[in-house]
């Protein structure tokens, strides 16, 4: 297990270096002086000159990158153009709301998708299967901001029982937090549920055909036990893998959902920063999100070696 973990972690190094290169060049691609881009047009010449030295802008590009990377690794992402706050604490404070929203939408998606997928697979080619499969395809085709807007229309305007947007910390007002959470979590969860349902159905179909399932049936194991204990346990690996892959969709989805619902997470922070031309924040947010995505995929890999030890040997 130790060796496996080490080799997986080592394989991340080139990817993380690559993502840092992308984040670095993102700011360099903006036409004009990076120091002005990073400080804003209204910055005074003295601080621009100071930042030029700090970024080593008169040095070769490789040196500039290494200087920048060194600062990133010590948690120095620079300062926001608006208000001059440090970027790193800004990013950290946005992580909490995003994590809560993501967790809630994953739970919602699993609660919908796994039963629906299993029902569709066990009653293949019935109306239940067609209905669930078509619903999943609709979910995949639904732009999440439209679903969000429809939910706001329904539950905040037509039947005003939930707030249209906003956020309150769960520590201050747990009940209020949940009321704010419902609509964005449903919006994000629905998108995830669609893919998870399709994956659950496909793997369950595969597994239900396996010899050991036939054996279990033949020796008289009740149908419910066959489905849950024999089949579903073996269908979990692709589902967990998909969950890992979906983290990318999730981390992208929060950008849109958080913007629609004014949820103060990393996605809204990124969008706001893009419009304020707050490039230090954009750079930091892009780097942080990509790093999180890569790390979550590592964790997924580790989780499914725990679910299924055969993976480790492969």
């Amino acid at each position: 297990m130790g060796g496996f973990l080490l080799s997986r972690v080592m394989s991340l190094v080139p990817i993380l270096l690559g993502t840092s290169l992308v984040a670095f060049f993102l700011v360099r691609l903006i036409p004009g002086d990076p120091a002005i881009a990073l400080l804003g047009l209204e910055a005074d010449p003295r601080s621009i000159a100071a930042l030029r030295t700090q970024l080593a802008l008169d040095q070769p590009l490789v040196f500039q990158y290494l200087t920048w990377l060194g600062r990133i690794l010590t948690g120095d992402f620079g300062r926001s153009i608006q208000g001059g706050r440090e970027v790193f604490p800004l990013l950290l404070s946005a992580l909490g709301p995003t994590a809560l929203l993501s967790l809630a939408s994953i739970l919602i998606s699993l609660a919908i998708a796994v039963p629906a997928g299993i029902v569709a697979a066990t009653r293949r080619n019935t109306m239940a299967d067609y209905g669930a499969s078509f619903a999943a395809l609709c979910g995949l085709s639904m732009p999440s901001f439209w679903l969000g807007v429809l939910l706001i229309l329904t539950f905040s305007i037509y039947i005003p029982i939930l707030p249209a947007s906003g956020y309150v910390s769960p520590l201050l007002d747990p009940l209020g937090f949940l009321r704010f959470l419902v609509l964005p979590a449903l919006t994000l969860g629905a998108a995830l549920a669609a893919a998870t349902m399709r994956m659950t159905r496909a793997t369950m179909l595969e597994v239900l055909r396996a010899d050991y399932v036939r054996t279990a049936r033949a020796k008289g194991v009740p149908a419910r036990v066959v489905v849950w204990r024999h089949a579903f346990r073996n269908a979990q690996i692709p589902i967990v893998t998909l969950l890992g892959i979906q983290m990318g969709q999730l981390l992208g989805g929060v950008v849109i959902t958080e913007t629609v619902f004014s949820w103060p997470g990393i996605g809204k922070l990124t969008v706001d920063a893009i419009f304020a031309r707050d490039y230090p924040v954009v750079q930091g947010a892009v780097l942080l999100t990509a790093t999180l995505f890569v790390l979550i995929n590592l964790i997924t890999d580790v989780i499914y070696t725990i679910i299924d030890p055969r993976v480790r040997l492969a």
Partner: protein
């Protein structure tokens, strides 16, 4: 050649009998006709304000109502199809051509070049696609062309990975070995033999990514990073609708429905194609 032709016979036979495919085809066709013949179909100039009919609900005069400037929503949606399909087509076509090329080279020649190409693709893949598209569009500046570029870049690794994997499989096969033994050059083998044999998965992926590209474009324009007003796009119409949700909810219903139905069309087609090429999934 037969190897390449076989999937296409199956393809046309499979599509005709498949109800999902028919529905998908019809939805896509509607969008294409709207985009191509927008000038002929749209009852109004999509940009012409009419201050006598501001925020008018759907009626016989304005089938889908009007927006806050009195512009006809139906006409704007028809013209919006142009942007969606333009971005969808060029971003997927660009990614398909370049990505497949890179994957072919990486798979066939391997070595340091191959590793380097795939490492770069891994890095692009390490970003959540919407986020990367957003960042690229933000840096390049909001415009239609930059939206195409951003979405194309994000989709590159998908095609590169499929093409590489397929190339690795196909180039081990006997008939490729035979061509090599007969002294055919690499370009000839790649273009004439390897490429036709990996078209099926590439086409399936292309149709599914077309759907995803339309959604991504709508996200970009929803956030104000796509084609700029007054050009109507489904995304920027929805962005605009947010300010009038309680006064004029139809502004939010119809552009969203247009995106949804078009994307559903491409997804249905993509699914049907996949089942035809890989019947095990059905």
């Amino acid at each position: 050649m037969t190897a390449a032709a076989a999937p296409f016979t199956a393809f046309s036979r499979g599509l005709v009998g498949d109800r999902r495919a028919t529905l998908g085809f019809v939805l896509v066709l509607i969008a294409v006709v709207a985009a191509v013949a927008a000038q002929l179909i749209a009852p109004f100039d999509p940009d012409a304000p009419d201050f006598a009919a501001v925020l008018a609900p759907p009626s016989l005069a304005h089938l889908l109502g009007t927006d806050e400037l009195g512009r006809d929503v139906f006409s704007r949606i028809i013209f919006g199809a142009r942007v969606s399909l333009f971005v969808g087509f060029f971003s997927v076509a660009g990614a398909l051509v370049l990505g497949t090329g890179l994957g072919l080279v990486a798979g066939y020649f391997g070595g340091l070049l191959g590793t380097l190409i795939m490492r770069v693709m891994d890095v692009v893949f390490a970003f959540p696609s919407i986020l990367l598209a957003l960042a690229i569009a933000a840096v390049l500046g909001p415009s239609l062309v930059n939206a195409v570029l951003a979405i194309a870049i994000v989709n590159l690794p998908v095609f590169a990975r499929i093409a590489r994997a397929q190339t690795l499989v196909v180039s081990q096969l006997d008939f490729v070995e035979a061509k090599r033994a007969l002294g055919f050059g690499s370009t000839n083998i790649l273009v004439r033999t390897v490429m036709p044999n990996m078209l099926a998965p590439i086409i399936v992926q292309g149709s599914l990514l077309f759907a995803a590209a339309i959604i991504t474009e709508s996200y970009l324009s929803f956030l104000g990073l796509g084609a700029q007003p007054p050009t109507p796009t489904w995304g920027n119409m929805l962005r605009n609708a947010i300010g009038f949700l309680d006064l004029a909810p139809w502004l939010a219903w119809f552009p969203g429905a247009a995106i949804f139905l078009t994307v559903l069309g491409f997804n249905l087609l993509g699914d049907a194609l996949r089942d035809i090429f890989d019947p095990r999934n059905g």
